[in-house]
């Protein structure tokens, strides 16, 4: 047991050694070193149970869903729908029919922008978007703004990366129709107070669309407690396969929205005189979905719940504290994003050394981190940096991983002297 000494009573620490053995890829050597994977915010690794579930699906149950009477199709449908129910439980949605399968967060937000906002927005209507959003929670709104004459306005962030709630209040008005906000920022780690924001948005009649991509693997999510209108997340960020994720939306909205795509499975009847739509969730799920991905994602939900999201959050928190302290020992290192409420994301720059060079050099030491704008160019602009280095923490990381990173950064410093 790799107990973290400071665990509060009541929450048993994660057994990181054991967890690490669940991830086949972590056995890999990179450039002759044991891989230290600190890029889970880009995409997580997959535990064997997930990889096996995908394989098992293809080897034992593979068929198209929904429309088949044969045995395999029934099994495939059962697996596919079981994952939908697990997703519902994962975000505590009231109804399973409100869980819409999508490719990921990006598709989910585009769906809301096109099916909810596009028919409703009028010239001069406003969409508030925080400055710390991922491009996938900015660009879909810019596209729909251009289509409708609505305007996208940024909500400011403080110097430590905390959302400026006064600025939110100052910008909210009757013109506000949508508040688009990330639950957790992928470039800063900031956790936003969604329940508060949703309440303020509702007070002016606006909906709240939450990008949950970075919250999903770190926090227990309860959309009913959050009080938002839509919540999007990606399977590949919660140890599931790529190409599958979910949009949760309130039934009242989903029922009132036109379909997102047209095709098979989303119709009630099709004729050249006109077509009618299927009820939820099918209305938003045209075409063959990623059934194999869904099989894997179901296993990922089980895996995460098996560990316990409270324990995961605790682990994340402790490792973040350790990582923050250790990084600040590195000469010339500046952390970008130091909000008191953060998840395990460590974004930083090193004086005089470009992040891209750092990325290349630490990779040679087997340390996988991300460098660049992290699809959050407005954050880079806000903090006056062209890019940052980002180390993101998850269940299979421990202090030794952070030590390896710090050691490697010292090497970078020495090289650039």
């Amino acid at each position: 047991m790799n107990a973290t000494p400071s665990s509060p009573p009541g929450i048993a620490p994660l057994d990181v050694e054991r967890i690490r053995r669940d991830f086949p890829l972590l056995k890999r050597q990179v450039n002759g070193h044991r891989l230290v994977y600190l890029d889970s915010a880009a995409t997580t690794q997959r535990p064997s149970v997930v990889i096996d579930a995908v394989r098992d699906f293809y080897e034992q149950h593979n068929a198209n869903v929904h429309r088949g009477v044969h045995q395999l199709s029934q099994e495939a449908t059962a697996i596919f729908e079981a994952t939908r129910e697990k997703a519902r439980a994962f975000v505590n949605a009231p109804e399973v029919a409100e869980m819409i399968y999508v490719r990921g967060t990006t598709e989910a937000i585009n769906l809301v922008a096109q099916s909810w906002a596009r028919p409703r927005l009028k010239p001069g209507d406003e969409i508030l978007v925080t400055t710390m959003e991922h491009h996938s929670n900015i660009v879909p709104w810019q596209l729909v703004a251009e289509q409708t004459g609505a305007v996208v306005r940024p909500i400011a962030i403080d110097d430590d990366g905390t959302l400026d709630l006064d600025d939110l209040d100052a910008r909210l008005s009757e013109r506000t129709r949508v508040v688009a906000v990330g639950h957790v920022s992928n470039s800063l780690g900031t956790v936003n107070p969604i329940a508060h924001i949703a309440k303020r948005a509702r007070s002016v009649g606006a909906i709240t669309v939450v990008d949950g991509a970075q919250a999903a693997p770190h926090y227990p999510i309860d959309v009913q407690a959050l009080g938002c209108d839509f919540y999007a997340f990606s399977g590949h960020k919660v140890f599931g396969p790529t190409g599958v994720g979910f949009l949760w939306g309130r039934r009242e909205w989903l029922d009132a929205m036109p379909p997102w795509m047209g095709g098979g499975d989303m119709i009630n009847s099709v004729s050249f005189q006109g077509s009618t739509w299927a009820p939820l969730p099918s209305k938003f799920e045209a075409g063959t979905p990623n059934v194999g991905g869904a099989a894997g994602l179901g296993a990922a939900f089980d895996y995460v719940s098996g560990l316990g999201l409270d324990r995961i959050a605790q682990h994340d928190h402790e490792l973040l504290q350790y990582g923050t302290a250790r990084l600040l020992e590195v000469d010339g290192l500046r952390l970008i994003g130091t909000s008191p409420k953060k998840t395990g994301i460590l974004s930083f720059v090193l004086a005089g050394i470009h992040p891209h060079d750092i990325g290349t050099i630490v990779d040679r030491d087997g340390v996988a981190i991300r460098t660049g704008h992290h699809c959050a160019q407005p954050v880079m602009e806000r903090f006056g940096v062209p890019a940052t280095v980002r180390a993101s923490l998850t269940i299979h990381n421990d202090r030794a991983d952070i030590d390896r990173l710090v050691e490697s950064l010292e090497g970078v410093r020495r090289m650039f002297g």
């Binding site: 470009h354 880079m380 062209p386």
Partner: protein, 150 residues
Amino acid sequence: MDADLRELYQQVILDHHRKPRNFGPLTAPDRAAVGFNPLCGDRIQVQLMLDENDRITDVHFTGEGCAICTASASMMTESVQSKTLDEAKQLFHGFHELLTTGDDPGEVDLGKLSLFAGVREFPVRVKCATLPWHTLTAAAENREEPISTE
């Protein structure tokens, strides 16, 4: 620190990164262009002075980039000095060959630019080294739109 890295970040390259040559704006350039690499946030501007024969009489750059990009820009400005635009193009051609194959093509004399041979071991960094050259090409062609390596 492994050998590939040492070759990538040679002293000369690090030196050009630290003290870039011909850095800073020209007062009245004949041609200029902006280039950027959205992947890593490199963004540079290249400015040219030409004589009547399209010979480069002065070349400067500004902007911010990684060590490879900055050093490449700096060394580029030295290499193309007093060359015609056509000669500069040939030089870029040879340089590109070097970066992607690791071989000095021989047709043109790369001079100090050969020091970039180590980039070949780091394919994602090729764009960093070529960005200044793409921007130079854009400036030569007087393209207004910023060019991008993506």
